[in-house]
Amino acid sequence: MTNSRREFLKVLGSGLAVAIVSRDAAAAVPNLSRAFGGAQPPHGSPTPTDEIAAWLHIATDNKVTVYTGKVEVGQGIRTSLAQEVAEELRVPTATVHMVMGDTDLTPYDMGTFGSMSTPRMGPQLREAAASARELFLDLAAARWKVPRESLITQLGEVYDATRRHRATFGELTAGRLLVEKVRDDAPLTPAADWKYAAGIAVDRVGARDIVTGKPHFPSDLRRPGMLYGKVLRAPSMGATLQSMDAGDAASVKGAVVVADGQFVGVAAPRTADAERALLGIRAQWKPAAGPLPDSRDVYDYLRRTPPAPAGGRGGEDGYNQARPVEKGNVAAALATAAHTLERSYTVAYIAHVPLEPRAAVAEWTHDAGGDRLTVWTGTQRPFGVKEELMRAFGLPDERVRVLMPDCGSGYGGKHTGECAVEVARLARAAKMPVKLVWTREEEFRWAYFRPAGVIDVKAGMTGDGTLTAWSFDNYNSGPAAIEPMYEIANQHVEYHPRESPLRQGSYRGLAATANHFAREMHVDELAHVAGLDPLAFRMRNLKNERLRAVFQAAADRFGWGKPRAEGHGVGIAGGFEKGGYIATAVELVVDRASGSVKLVRGVSAFDCGAIVNPGILRNQIEGAFIQGIGGALFEAIDFDHGVIRNAHLAQYRVPRFSDVPDIDVVLVDRKDEPSFGAGETPIFGVAPAIGAAIFDAAGIRVRSLPMARGGLKSS
């Protein structure tokens, strides 16, 4: 929070404010660099000295407000976090208002990624709400001089069993502002006892505004006198600007040309004017020193290029510290195995394609303290974007404010603040508010990608299909979920960071998709070598009860093992990560003449502990399945000579209505387990299940993602 705590409390007015003191700020630090889109964590960036993780406020009119730095990008936490607060307060979800991702009003938050909102922010908000509930009981007992145990709280009121005494939460604060910390003795309501708000499919907050087209998204924003921006882009990645001449740009009425080092842009009263002015600028560029690999030889490059230097920009997480796993003696176990299998798998760079591209509005104001910059932008890391702006403009903490209106999705692709910095440059020079919305082409060319990677796998097993040796080397794609979930005595597992020729960063699930693809495809092939059913083979080598349970649930719903139609193939795959357990089964048809793959149906079974909102959870699981189809079958970035060659939706195919099969979701509700997130893990089983089903249908093993771009080719 930029404002001092005293100023913030003034914003709240009277009522009860509960401060949620962060417990796991330190624990989260090892993951910090993941958030920077493949770039290095900023050096000298202000460390969060504020230990408050969030605020809960209950006003005298009983309005409940939560202040959290988490943001809503479609995953549904504006609804599900409010449900958790409402449940502990015993009030309806609709009475809880969430203020999210505003760096002036909400405490510092690293960012909304890694499926952390539900397991980390959720319990902290529940504790705050439970503390508030208990405090209201204390206040009521003291005021009415009755035993605390005789009091009941429900629907924002406290009363005693006789109903002689009765008061709303707000009345109990008696016009004061009480400021409390979360207390240790406030009991949390077990999931099995949830009945007011949590555990049910309450309506998604904000849906009515969306279906009626009310301004909602960052790109919808308008400020008085606002201009529209455009930025001059290099002809290829890494090219440097040698010289520029504003040429005819200045003759466009109302256009402001901004040249600042490598940055050249235009702001004008209409986007069309800005585009016209940009066309008038003449610039000379020097290409990056080559040669760089292209999308055809990038896999050889990634395997052979020297490791990324320590602290360099290696891998999806931007850090190189993932340690190899060594257990037992892999070489000896391979030498004595009844069967061995050695294969390589590759995954392509893919783009997030958030339907709302990067968008931001910047406004500079001036007061006695100097310049002040306010930026509204779509980002998963409003505080990270704020730090980028502070560095870019040399501004202190209290002179920059970033607000994140709920934005048009992210999928891990909106961790960085390029657009925010660009538009702030334009607005500073134009002395007016400016909006900048990246074009789809800019989003393809200048955002970052899911890393490409090569994975070499060697495995050994006994004659009865018990895994004994496992060697797994991942080049560049990343270390997420890299360790096998199967019981294997001898293991070598290593992630090899590389300097990526393309800008790369987080993508839904990180490298867990690549690692599950390689692992589960390998396991499917091992099952065939052993002559075992792929599900039976897994169960033989799998101890984790929750993972076994989702495999069984998916298999039961799917009808695994039943006869299938001529030409149809089936496959199953799964795994776990970040507190979630997923198994996915698919049925598909391969057209042998064209090589096209048509999904017929799919089942995903998922367990992420106690379910907060089964409706939104189901929606997330379906969405992950469908997004997973794209990466599995046809999404890939083409590039050569530092240029993206398919930077348009007509050339980069994403899943559409006609690609989607019947999808059945089985929710496994573990009320006895803590709640975890669901934004990532449900995507992991899709690609390997499809790969296994392609083999089942056509006898072809495809070991590269995407598997059927332009039709199946044997590999």
Binding site: G74, C407, P655
Partner: protein, 166 residues
Amino acid sequence: MRITLEVNGSRHEVDVDPGRPLLSVLHEELELSGPKYGCGESECGACTVLIDGRSVHSCVTPVSAATNAAVTTIEGLAAPGGKLHALQEAFMQEDALQCGYCTAGMIMAAASLLNATPKPSRDEIVRAMDGNVCRCGTYPRIVRAIQRAAGELPEPVSPTFREVQP
């Protein structure tokens, strides 16, 4: 050039290049933000609006093509009194959205379909909607929402614990 537009029942005079995309005029002249920019190339459908009841991709439709016609955007779909269109209700009932950025385009494309084909089959829905992208992957829910708005589904049953395995 001065152009008269009728949008959501109101007449507007704008002075614009007749070749300028309708989407740009809606955004920057009429200050309507409901139709969305997604690609600018008629590939994603986020900008879908109705001209005389039929869907167009406003990002590639010149504003001159919208003269002497009634343009309807998502802002103008509900009845004048505020009663929501059946599609708007159905999208909420089926939770047929995640981030919601594609939703306006989806609803307008579906409105065009239902104008022409009040009781579409599932295949007709898929064919009519295939030009609209939902990157969050809510397609099955959108199909159900359209079926619901067309009166092809029984009364809504919201997902509850009955569907959840213990």
